[in-house]
């Protein structure tokens, strides 16, 4: 399991407009990732 301080492996996921969103594309600013349980 990833621990604080480790480098997060890059990933790409499609966004709500089906465009690729890449973690490495956000470099240079903090990222807050909120993982949903399920859509309500």
């Amino acid at each position: 399991m990833m621990r604080p301080g480790t480098t997060v492996e890059d990933f790409t996921l499609p966004d709500d407009r089906d465009r690729p969103w890449t973690l490495s594309g956000q470099r240079g600013r903090p990222v807050l990732l909120v993982f949903h349980r399920h859509l309500m």
Binding site: P4, E9, F11, L13, D15, R17, D18, W21, L33, F35
Partner: protein, 130 residues
């Protein structure tokens, strides 16, 4: 969270779901979210971040039932979920250099951190990587 967005400053915020991508646009519009929703239907990224499925007794614990009760009391209409209700969520802050700065992995649905804790974690990440 919407009320505290200004406190996050220049932070990239994204909400990861395991819903199919074609469901996301309507959901984002309905919630009027100012940040993207991402689709991870195979839960590959969920797994990388250590987010598992919880047993039912942890999902429907007294705290979760109280949480749902509070939402109903506020007039929130709860719909029967069509997705896997046992999948846990989580919150993660990654600093400007791509390092994991903070991880919030709840053990049950009622165990999410207050938004103030997330804002504080983002601020620490900004100052530590600055």
């Amino acid at each position: 969270m919407r009320d505290r967005l200004d406190d996050l400053g220049d932070t990239a915020v994204a909400v990861v779901t395991f819903a199919a991508v074609e469901r996301l646009a309507a959901h984002r519009e309905h919630l009027d979210l100012p940040f993207p929703l991402l689709a991870d239907p195979q839960r590959v990224v969920y797994g990388r971040f250590g987010l598992d499925r919880a047993p039912l007794w942890r999902i429907y614990n007294p705290g979760t039932l109280r949480l749902y009760g509070r939402l109903l009391a506020r007039g929130r209409r709860l719909r029967r979920p069509v997705d896997d209700t046992r999948q846990l969520g989580g919150d993660f802050v990654i600093d400007a250099n791509g390092r994991l700065a903070a991880a919030f992995r709840p053990r049950s649905p009622d165990d999410r951190p207050p938004i103030g804790d997330l804002v504080a974690a983002v601020r620490r990440a900004r100052s530590d990587s600055g």
